[in-house]
Symmetry: C2
Subunit: 215 residues, 2 copies
Amino acid sequence: MQMVERWADHIHSAIVQKIVSGELQPGDLLNELPLAEEFGVSRTPVREALQRLSAGGLAERGRRRAFVVRQMDVAAMQDLFEAVGELEGLVARMAALRMTELERQALVRIVTEGERDDVDYAQTNARFHGAIHAGAHNQVLLDTLDDLNLRTLPWRVAQLRASMSRVQSSRVEHRGIMDAILANDGDEAVRQMRAHVAASFMGLMEIVSRTGSAP
Amino acid sequence: MQMVERWADHIHSAIVQKIVSGELQPGDLLNELPLAEEFGVSRTPVREALQRLSAGGLAERGRRRAFVVRQMDVAAMQDLFEAVGELEGLVARMAALRMTELERQALVRIVTEGERDDVDYAQTNARFHGAIHAGAHNQVLLDTLDDLNLRTLPWRVAQLRASMSRVQSSRVEHRGIMDAILANDGDEAVRQMRAHVAASFMGLMEIVSRTGSAP
DNA sequence: ATGGATCAATATGTATACATTTTCAAGCAT
DNA sequence: ATGCTTGAAAATGTATACATATTGATCCAT
């Protein structure tokens, strides 16, 4: 009973990886035949993968009805980042009100360990937000937020490498959010989380105006 | 240059309609071959439609990897309804802070006309929420909320017919939310919108425990 | 009688061939 | 030179055939 991963799933994951890593950039063509040849399969599983990418917001239809890696103009980017910020705030407030004692201790551990100098910031940040998402105890909001965050990743990779100065202030913000949650202060958690997300997105708009173009 | 709708789109819309209208109920099989014969096409466009249904949360994989109309246990239902309530509240607050004067007047008109006795409540409710969604001026949140609301529809149809008593109180709630928005009172708009959505979902849990079952 | 293995049935996964649509360019008329 | 028409090229949309996997039942061994 060996379960072999289906090609459609594998191709989907592979293309997602290429998009969020920057190997595929917004506007790049996603034609079926070249992809099929690249993976050594027919167009059928490639089509399924592309349709899923489109449903997830990472691809859109371009000329000739072909899929392209999603492009976003400045307005769309602002909407996306604002949505993520508001949702992260919402989830942070819920976490502040209903996290279990175990989950709170795990959060403290993540923040504390993340303040060491030999740990990867990106991973710490992911674990931090992951812990809060889990603490909100709502699978639907978790999935929704994951989808939106995935859509921001292609635009964040460039920024992540550039601004190491963000790491130090981000650690401070993490601790501030953690304190608000530990104090069951939902409103304060919202405020600080919104500010944290906004700060994380700072400087991305100029990248958009360079790389992105209106669909 | 006549643009003929593609089968995949048509089939997708048709199945969505059947699901939200109750003709297809949670747990019902969505096998490819019967659907292909029903629409007089091959399995290919049917598969695309089903995959899109799954991505939209209206279908899920069942036995034999076949798709079925999505079932939800009580916990999943609570998560979904809570998510909708929180997001509606979020959007209401944003609308209160940034609706244009024109949009505010349109909202007043919708609420006022909705209080007449010869108009359909479901339509009025849809127009009311649509106006607020638009007033939030964020396409991403609008799309997200539309997706989640669509997922609640299959469970609301039964309820909508049953409880006519909700109409009167719902009108009062609409006016309360409107007043908060007109007063630019974001926090009050959140509170009232959450209460409104929660009241709209009242009584659905028992339907879940009858119809739905754990996946 | 029960447990497990094997095999057939059925539905999905993939490959391939054909149809349709969309671009783009070349050519003609104005 | 400009604008429209026409047609060929290329990509997606659909149909069909084949491969694979899952499920359920039957048969055998204990």
